[in-house]
Symmetry: C2
Subunit: 187 residues, 2 copies
């Protein structure tokens, strides 16, 4: 971030008066440009005991399986975002049951919100960000080919809670996955 998006003036990176962190500040018009974590909203769509997963057609993690999820947009609610992403990536219509997992990923400044959801019918197909979409029983989940730790943890808890007969909202912090960490040579 080098230029002010409001006036085009040059930015400096310093702590504003009364603040405690450096921010991008416009030397011309005085605007402070804050940067904040982004929300990834998605769901665990269930149909007759099976769970709907998408195989990613885009990077990162192209070819790996994921829950339908994506960046929340301005002007929508978290559940609207989760339903929209499920429609876009899997052409599946769901109703949201409840919040299931809340994960912070401070290394990439993201917050995941994954809801439990019920598919309204058995219709689904690959959206343009998916190579494939399929329903999986617990035994069929491709645990070694999941795209993200948030997906792995959400599914692991989901099946354990389902067996226990009681779902509870899970929260936590997840660090960088092995493929996200810089190689030892870079450290």
């Amino acid at each position: 971030m080098k230029f002010c998006s409001r006036c085009g003036g040059p930015l400096s990176f310093r702590v504003p008066p009364g603040d405690h962190l450096p921010r991008h500040i416009c030397d011309a018009c005085g605007t402070i440009h804050y940067q904040n974590p982004r929300i990834v909203a998605g769901c665990i769509p269930e149909w007759e005991g099976r769970v709907l997963l998408c195989r990613r057609a885009i990077e990162p993690r192209r070819g790996h399986w994921t829950l339908p999820a994506g960046f929340m947009e301005n002007g929508e609610s978290t559940t609207e975002a989760a339903m929209r992403e499920t429609l876009e990536e899997a052409n599946a219509r769901v109703e949201i049951i409840d919040l299931y997992t809340l994960y912070s990923l401070p290394h990439i400044s993201q917050v995941y919100l994954i809801f439990r959801a019920r598919m309204l019918d058995e219709a689904f197909s690959a959206g343009h960000e998916s190579l494939d979409v399929a329903l999986f029983t617990e035994a069929e989940i491709p645990w070694g080919d999941l795209a993200f730790p948030t997906v792995h943890e959400s599914l692991r808890h989901f099946f354990a809670d389902r067996r226990a007969g009681r779902f509870q909202t899970r929260t936590g912090t997840i660090g960088a996955a092995p493929w996200q960490r810089p190689a030892a040579d870079d450290a």
Copy 2:
């Protein structure tokens, strides 16, 4: 948003190829500048059955009572953000118990995450964004002078759940408060 923060070039507002919403796009370097909802993280700090509230020293809603909460920063977790805000606004140290409320405010593109929390000791005082900080029993809560609907709803559920002896995570969408809606003359 008029200028590219990366190269200073002019921005146009149009739908990028493969997208479905208009974005600010740099005509010079091609960067797409996404805008996403911001997270407000905070908590309900409890000490011997009473709840800690802050009277706001800043707009919006200066002079009204609120839970310690504020914008989550890049590089931190949601619980770290809630603890930091509590320290900044109330000089109070807490440990987080669990997520309690998740509210979407689509009209201002914010998502509130309020946790239940236990104060580590009885020490507290007004931070620079607070005029006053105080502990309240349920009967003492200034219901008519609360700053935001999110605070009202979080506290209302909190005391009801506490009486019922069982806390459950609450999620929902909250529209504009009366003081946030444009006057009829502006409509």
